[in-house]
Amino acid sequence: MSVEAQQGIATPRIPAGLGGLLPALMLIGLFFVVPVLALLLRSVTDPAPGLQNYAALLGDGTYARVFFNTFLVAAVVTIVTVLVAFPVAWMLAIMPPALASILFGIIILSMWTNLLTRTYAWMVLLQRTGVINRALMGAGIIDQPLPLINNLTGVTIGMVYIMLPFMILPLVGTLRAIDPMTLRAAALCGASPLAAFRRILLPLSLPGIAAGGLMVFVMSLGYFVTPALLGGTSNMMLAEMIAQMIQSLLNWGLGSAAAFVLLVVTMALYALQLRLVGARRTTGGA
């Protein structure tokens, strides 16, 4: 009732507010909407008008492989990120706030460190004669160096590392809202730690996992630097392909079409997230 009443009062103000929004709308229009439209236009006009660029993209097995690989990497990175982030987020959620804020500081600091530097650091660690392989061989655990770089393993490790903060931060928020007493109650009800996790903690943390997971997935879809440096030629991702098309092949039409497909997929996923989160809010669950 009160919400409706407030909205009723607020409605007449919107036309007046539009004038104030105009500079911001112009900025968004000029720098975001116009370029995207230009991109779309280019994808259907370059080199000749028509949908041949899209036909080539979706019809060709090589391009299909790149699309598949892009989704595979994004999915693997998202799953591994969730698995690694969950225990970290849980620890941050239940530890004393003073200690937690120090750890938050460290995590945020890693986000501020240059992406290239961090990716090169992983190259040093992961290569055949890198720190990890030499340590494992020195300890006598392996005889041959493990193939940790220029493949899916390398891309996954490097990207999970970069994506972790984007997963941990929303998840900590969700986990902090869960009263630890709820888990004690579950234990006394007879739930083993595993059952309490599966039936109570996991369902209650799903909104955070969904929010963080979708963000990581969408960011991973368009990722360039890390896959280019840590991945191999056989598992090229979409962003690399776009760069190659435009930089090396000067095929602006095909590159634009690929970029537009990526944009549409990203927006579709974002809409899905809005729907899921919105639905959960209205039912009052979690």
Binding site: D179, M181, T182, R184, A185, A186, A187, L188, C189, G190, A191, S192, P193, A195, A196, R199, I200, P203, L204, G284, G285, A286
Partner: protein, 358 residues
């Protein structure tokens, strides 16, 4: 000797340098409603948590029907518990919350359905089965928590200040529910509270905690009418403490001298005192009489204030030694204007007064 149902043996719990529970030993018969009463930090919740398995005691043991519970993890202790805060599972409906302990025990669906219906009718929430906890009032949530804790017929139900978040009227309503449920189910209840009235209303016996030890254990009447220490006397009910000097104790009764010089004899001896030892005489406010009767001691006071409290009046008076005391005669005992006279004697039965060391 028969084996006690639940037995707490020399329980001790230290957190670093702080000892929350010093040495608690307690036997609880089956079906009893026992309350742990005490100020905050007296160790009552810590003792309860040791029984629940949330905190391992530093030493001592907890035995259920002769078997130690300490090596049994919380989820296998089969104990019911209602918490201070609302701990319902927010993503599950009322019915699913009550069904939860049965689901994790993998009971058949038919049995779960029947038991959930029974439990919801026990706490009178049959019509709320499909609601989410957020759509319930605080009192309703605690009733669901009670239903959830009893759904698997636990031999013991622990309650950790379950009513402290509720307002007074709701508290009294749910106290009556808890008494009824205890009567109907016969479950053994260990109840923690810092509210002495709640303890007196609900319990078969009360264990009064003080600084990690049990100061006295007994029925509410024992603690009220026969307090073992001045702490018990001060914690349960209202009490007046008058400074007094012990003169002698002969044949189970003591003689003392009050601060105004008056001698009082016939006080039931409660411990042993030296001649001339400084003591405190405890008299309940309702034990004072305004009329002289045989064998009563007399105390000269100045009336400071008279207030009307319905069934009783509350008189604030000052002794000639300058100490304020609280007197609560029944309203029928006399009309207000009669006590307005500023100086007058009041009377008390020395047998209903207690002597404690100062």
């Amino acid at each position: 000797m028969t084996q006690p149902f639940l037995s707490i043996r020399n329980l001790r719990k230290a957190f670093g340098a702080f000892t929350a529970v010093h040495d608690v030993t307690l036997d609880i018969p089956k079906g009893e409603f026992l309350t742990f009463l005490g100020p905050s930090g007296s160790g009552k919740s810590t003792t309860l948590y040791a029984i629940a398995g949330f905190q391992d005691p530093t030493s001592g043991d907890v035995l259920l029907q002769g078997k130690s519970l300490l090596s049994v993890p919380s989820h296998k202790r089969n104990i019911g518990m209602v918490f201070q805060r609302y701990t319902l599972f927010p993503h599950l409906t009322v019915a699913e919350n009550v069904a939860f302990p049965l689901r994790v025990r993998r009971r058949p669906d038919v049995e779960i359905k029947r038991k959930v219906a029974d439990m919801l009718s026990l706490v009178r929430l049959e019509n709320f089965a499909e609601r989410l906890p957020a759509a319930l009032s605080g009192g309703q949530q605690q009733r669901v928590a009670l239903a959830r804790a009893l759904a698997y017929d636990p031999p013991i139900l622990l309650m950790d200040e379950p009513l402290s978040a509720l307002d007074k009227k709701l508290r009294e309503e749910i106290q009556a529910e808890i008494r009824r449920i205890h009567r109907e189910t016969g479950v053994t209840i260990l109840y923690v509270t810092h509210d002495q009235e709640e303890a007196l209303h609900l319990s078969d016996r009360i264990a009064l905690f003080r600084e990690g030890r049990i100061e006295q254990i007994g029925t509410g009447e024992d603690l009220y009418l026969r307090p073992a220490t001045d702490f018990v006397a001060g914690f349960i009910g209202n009490s007046n403490f008058l400074a007094a000097e012990h003169l002698e104790t002969v044949g189970g009764t003591s003689t003392i001298r009050l601060a105004d010089g008056a001698l009082v004899s016939g006080i039931s001896a409660n411990g042993s005192f030296e001649r001339g030892q400084k003591t405190r005489l405890m008299i309940r406010p309702e034990a004072f009489r305004l009329e002289r009767s045989p064998n009563n001691a007399e105390l000269s006071v100045e009336i400071v204030d008279v207030a009307f409290y319905g069934e009783r009046r509350r008189i604030v008076a000052r002794t000639s030694a300058g100490q304020e005391i609280d007197i609560r005669p029944t309203s029928a005992a006399l009309a207000a204007q009669e006590v307005a006279a500023s100086r007058r004697p009041v009377f008390f039965d020395p047998g209903a007064a207690f002597l404690f060391p100062a």
